[in-house]
């Protein structure tokens, strides 16, 4: 991850506040985007499923 991606991640985490699930979720999404994903729909859905449930709990 280069300098500017690190900067993006730091800001995303800061803006997520204390919501750890949201921080992890957005970090995962950023990684996904940097890999230029195919099948993004499924990968996104899987992450949403995982982290939205964790958020409810």
């Amino acid at each position: 991850m280069d300098g500017s991606s690190n900067q993006i991640l730091k800001l995303l985490q800061k803006n997520s506040g204390k919501k750890k699930q949201m921080q992890d979720f957005l970090e995962n999404l950023l990684d996904l985007e940097m890999e230029c994903p195919g099948w993004w729909n499924e990968k996104y859905k899987a992450l949403i499923e995982k982290y939205s449930i964790m958020e409810v709990r």
């Binding site: 993006i8 995303l12 997520s16 979720f25 890999e35 230029c36 859905k45 939205s52 958020e55």
Partner: protein, 649 residues
């Protein structure tokens, strides 16, 4: 770089070795030998296209002419471009594109046969690892992403026109491209798509849902449209403001020539009118002189005559009491005209005595009496003449004074107008009026659009609340609602991050552009700073706080564009080489020296490849660059014009 069978290049190998102080690679060649196709070769290798192809090159097949003519019928020649570079952590990386082509029998056209693009990296044991497809493209993205290649490999013309053609919105887009904010944009778009999908799914479980969803969608579309409209208006307003600023600088101290011209036309009309008036007065004066001429010339005889008549009156000669003619006829025929008796001597003597006392004949007396009123009138006229002529002369003097003043004003205006390039000033002043009007109209439209946007946003909020409620009403949709809510939260965080990042990057690029520009500029006391405003409009401010972007010379303008691009490089974290085709062709000879020094300075930090024409590489820049260049290459076409060779000078 290795180039085989690509356009003018039959087979060349170039080693861009670094110099002790600089990494400055100089190529010099005549027009048409293949300089720009060297730039195209890099683009073709990395991105598979040739964005700078000339019309002449476009007509020619990609396969080198010599190769086409010399290959046998069953041969399938390969076009190859290989770039050996340094990737992350300075690790070596090779980008290699090769395409094979079948050649037509007349050797004039080619057909693509097979294509291959690989990136070769080293593993931990220093073995070559071949990356293909998406993996290879991903490595190109880490070297120079396609979306920002224009900042690394470009024609010098791009520098010259950079701030003429690039608006704040475009710069914002460029900052997004270069800073990977695109990643956030993509995240946000994908999350929005999924949120809609979840909501639709929930809608199938709740009958009201579709209606609310559809309303929300159309309201969201309206928010986007209004947002776009506002961005467009903002761009237009900012562009008008910037141009108005430039015009203001150009017109500083110059009066409104159009109103001066109107004034001058008004004065011309007055001059014509007053000249006509003075001519009319002259005629009036002539008529007056003509009318009074006789009485004035005969003033003395007339006065004498009147005097005589007066005396005759005083003497009692006028009016006459005796008829002289009757008395004379009575003497000739001495019969009394009253009683008819003959006159005696005494009576005749008496008549003779009367005749001696009568000085005027009746006829003369009548004549004198009848001329008396005429003479009086003539003399009266003479009495009024000095007053009338004085008044007329006074009026003529007033008009003449006005005429002198108007003529002086006209000369003053003529001189004023002659001192400006009236056509240019008029054009600029008209443009200013038109821009002011457009700006005012757009500001009004902006106000309306902002109000509409606020209303639409409120409606979106309301509908979103309704939608959330509708989702929660159904147990089965709870899970979907939860996901949708989670996504919406994530979208808000991503959007906030995007805005913060853009602002930070704008600030970083402004700082970096200032740093580069003032490190490199040769005029140390002319400029104060470079500003990038919140709408991403770039302005160059003079020490007197005047925006100068529109009025600086080509060299300063190109330097600012270069400083801005270098700032983009630094902030983006991409430290790839810069290649500029014809870097100083548009800069005057005396400024080439300054620009040459700048390019040397930059080459101390990063690799610069410059492609010059022979004319462009004039003595001014040659004497600066030659001692500092890491390598100099001559691009020369073979005598048979079938290939081009690159030789180290």
């Amino acid at each position: 770089m290795k180039i085989q069978n690509y356009r003018q290049y039959h087979d060349i190998d170039i080693n861009f070795s670094k110099g002790s102080q600089t990494d400055l690679q100089i190529f010099i060649g005549k027009n048409g030998v293949g300089k720009t196709n060297f730039l195209n070769a890099i683009n073709w290798c990395l991105y598979g296209d040739e964005p700078h192809l000339s019309a002449e090159s476009d007509r020619q097949p990609i396969v080198n002419k010599q190769t086409r003519l010399e290959s046998s019928n069953d041969e399938i020649p390969t076009v190859l471009v290989e770039i050996h570079a340094r990737g992350k952590k300075n690790n070596p990386i090779i980008f290699k594109r090769e395409k094979s082509y079948t050649i037509s029998s007349d050797r004039k056209s080619v057909h693509e046969h097979q294509t291959k693009f690989v990136a070769i990296v080293k593993d931990k044991k220093n073995n070559d690892v071949f990356k293909e497809g998406e993996d290879a493209i991903s490595l190109v993205k880490q070297f120079v992403p396609e979306s920002i290649r224009e900042y690394f490999f470009f024609d010098g013309e791009r520098l010259e026109n950079y701030f003429k053609t690039v608006t704040g919105v475009k710069i914002q887009q460029e900052m997004m491209d270069i800073s990977q904010i695109g990643l956030l944009q993509s995240m946000s778009e994908r999350l929005e798509k999924l949120t809609k999908e979840y909501s639709k799914e929930a809608g199938r479980l709740n009958p009201d849902f579709d209606k609310i969803r559809s309303d929300l969608d159309s309201e969201n579309t309206r928010v986007i449209q209004l947002g776009n409209e506002l961005t467009d208006l903002d761009t237009q307003i900012e562009s008008a403001k910037r141009r108005l600023g430039e015009i203001e600088v150009e017109l500083k101290g110059i009066p409104d020539v159009e109103s001066l011209e109107i004034d001058r036309d008004g004065i011309k009309n007055q001059i014509t009118k007053k000249t006509g008036l003075i001519e009319a007065k002259k005629i009036e004066k002539n008529d007056l002189l003509y009318k009074h001429g006789i009485s004035l010339l005969l003033k003395d005889p007339l006065s004498n005559t009147v005097k005589i008549i007066k005396e005759k009156h005083d003497n009692g000669d006028l009016p006459p009491t005796d008829d002289k003619d009757l008395l004379l006829s009575t003497l000739d025929n001495p019969i009394c005209k009253v009683c008819g008796s003959e006159l005696n001597d005494k009576s005749r003597e008496y008549i003779k005595n009367i005749l001696q006392t009568i000085s005027l004949s009746s006829k003369v007396a009548h004549e004198l009496q009848s001329m008396e009123p005429w003479l009086d009138r003539y003399l009266d006229q003479n009495t009024n003449y000095p007053k009338i002529i004085k008044q007329l002369n006074y009026e003529m003097k007033l008009i003449d004074d006005e005429l002198v003043s108007f003529n002086a004003k006209k000369i003053e205006l003529d001189q004023k107008l002659e001192s400006f390039n009236v056509d240019k000033v008029r054009k600029l002043q008209r443009e200013r009026v038109s821009l002011e009007n457009a700006k005012e109209t757009n500001l009004r439209r902006q106000g309306r659009a902002q109000t509409d946007l606020e209303t639409a946003k409120k409606r979106v909020e309301g509908l979103q609340i309704q939608l959330d409620k509708a989702e929660i009403e159904d147990d089965r949709s709870k899970n979907l609602a939860n996901k949708s809510k989670f996504c919406n939260e994530a979208i808000q965080i991503v959007t906030k991050t995007k805005i913060q990042l853009l602002d930070k990057i704008r600030q970083d690029i402004e700082d970096e552009t200032n740093k580069k520009f003032f490190e490199l500029i040769w005029k140390k006391k002319t400029f104060k700073c470079v500003k990038i405003d919140p709408n991403y409009n770039v302005s160059l401010i003079s020490v007197d706080d005047i925006p100068m972007l529109g009025s600086v010379g080509k060299a300063e303008n190109e330097l600012l564009a270069l400083a801005f691009m270098l700032a983009l490089h630094t902030v983006s974290g991409f430290d790839s080489p810069i290649l500029i085709d014809t870097p100083v062709a548009r800069i005057s000879d005396e400024q080439r020296e300054n620009f040459g020094k700048i390019l040397i300075e930059i080459s101390k930090e990063k690799q610069i490849i410059l492609l010059f024409t022979n004319d462009e590489y004039s003595d001014n820049i040659k004497k600066i660059i030659n001692p500092m260049a890491s390598n100099r290459y001559a691009i020369e076409m073979a005598r048979d014009e079938m290939s081009t060779d690159i030789k180290v000078v």
